[in-house]
């Protein structure tokens, strides 16, 4: 039973992203601001730190592929980005301590990195047509704020849950 919890949690978070995306964009401080939920990535990041890196890579690859096929229709971007960012995260975390706050801040930093990468890619293929400054004001700041809200509310419960699962797993 415990084996099923993580995939189900992953699927629920995967679906919740597109539901939260319907709130966006909002008008705030005289600008249209897009809120891009990146909950799935934060979940995978927590998995990589508090569960097993290998599981995180597999989840990143699978959910990234589903994300590409179902939502964007351009296969490869998230499928490649999720595992790559997990790799970067684990590499950085080797040098600093694995406090939840540190992991959270690292997650936000990596989301910013991912947003920039996706923006650059979309500029390249002509889907995006805004300059970098508009990208910052319209998307990046609001997205980071939105996702830090998610972290504030759910990072600790998720961490302890994942930790418990790992203990249960070790005892088996």
């Amino acid at each position: 039973m415990t084996r099923l919890i993580l995939p189900i949690l992953g699927i629920v978070i995967f679906y919740s992203e597109s539901i939260f995306a319907t709130f966006s964009p909002i008008e705030a401080y005289g600008e249209t601001r897009f809120l891009v939920p990146r909950f799935l990535f934060l979940f995978i990041l927590l998995l990589s730190v508090y569960y097993k890196p290998k599981t995180a890579y597999i989840y990143g690859f699978t959910f990234g592929l589903l994300y590409d096929v179902f939502f964007t229709g351009i296969i490869g971007i998230y499928m490649f980005l999720f595992p790559l960012l997990v790799y970067i995260a684990l590499y950085i975390l080797r040098f600093i301590n694995q406090n939840l706050i540190v992991v959270g801040l690292l997650g936000l930093f990596l989301i910013a990195l991912m947003e920039c990468a996706v923006y650059q890619f979309n500029m390249l293929i002509g889907v995006a047509g805004i300059d970098f400054k508009t990208f910052l004001t319209q998307r990046l700041y609001s997205t980071l704020l939105f996702n830090s809200l998610f972290l504030l509310l759910l990072a600790y419960p998720l961490k302890s849950w994942i930790g418990n699962l790992q203990h249960a797993h070790l005892e088996d």
Binding site: F71, T72, I77
Partner: protein, 295 residues
Amino acid sequence: MPPFFMNKRLIVLLLSIILLVALIGFSLGERDKISWPEQFAKDIVGFGQNIASKPAGFTQGIIENVQDLTNTYSENQTLKARLEELVLLQTQVTDLTRDNEELRAVVEIEENLRDFNVVNATVIARNPDQWQESIIIDKGQINGIEKDMAVQTASGMIGRIKDTSQFTSTVELLSARNPNNRVSALIQSEESNVFGLVEGFDLSRDELMVKKIPFDQEVEVGSKVITSGLGGVFPKDLLIGEVTEVSSDEYGLTQTAYVKPASSLYDLEHVMVIERTAAGQDEIEEDSQDEEEEE
């Protein structure tokens, strides 16, 4: 053996980059249909998404209902005033429809660019990264939905079908930046109709741009923009929006009109997929080819 591991890592990286480029190239290419593994994945994900979106839609519905209740009184007042006009309009419409039918019968025209069939659909997801302006609806090939059909809400046109799988389809909104996403449009003015192409979306104004309007045509601010049906894909008379500003382009040869979309392109829940019944150019060509083969 560190060098060995370094090599292995490097090979994995190189292989994945090659795979990545190949996959992106594959999915960006012009395709009539998406491949069956993609369709399969879409159907599976769409099935779950369909279930997941129900409670969300339900809660949203309740919130909207409560909001509606608060301004019922003022709405009722205006609606009552409109009701009297409506009766007049209705008699006119029936009269004109009959007139039109009779005249068509006289000149023996059967097909009408305005005729279409409607498939009602519910929006189950919006692309979370919001770069590709697309939504996903819960009707697919088994409901008779095909690529390039027009999609509208009760208030106006919002986009066209980008691709379909068995049970879901992706709708590309009018606001998407796609050079192939062009709609042949008609601007209704008092004296004559002006033709143009809906091309592109102005992000800072949140308005569509109708380009390629001849410079000698006069376009009034406030005139309605509808589909012309001349592209061979969409039926005629779907409302697109209303002109807010007209400016001439950089060389002064054509004009560009800014059009405020009649329907909001963000807060979408129920949409209608429009199937044109009049044959487009492609179908006419196909038919004639078939006939030739038969001969």
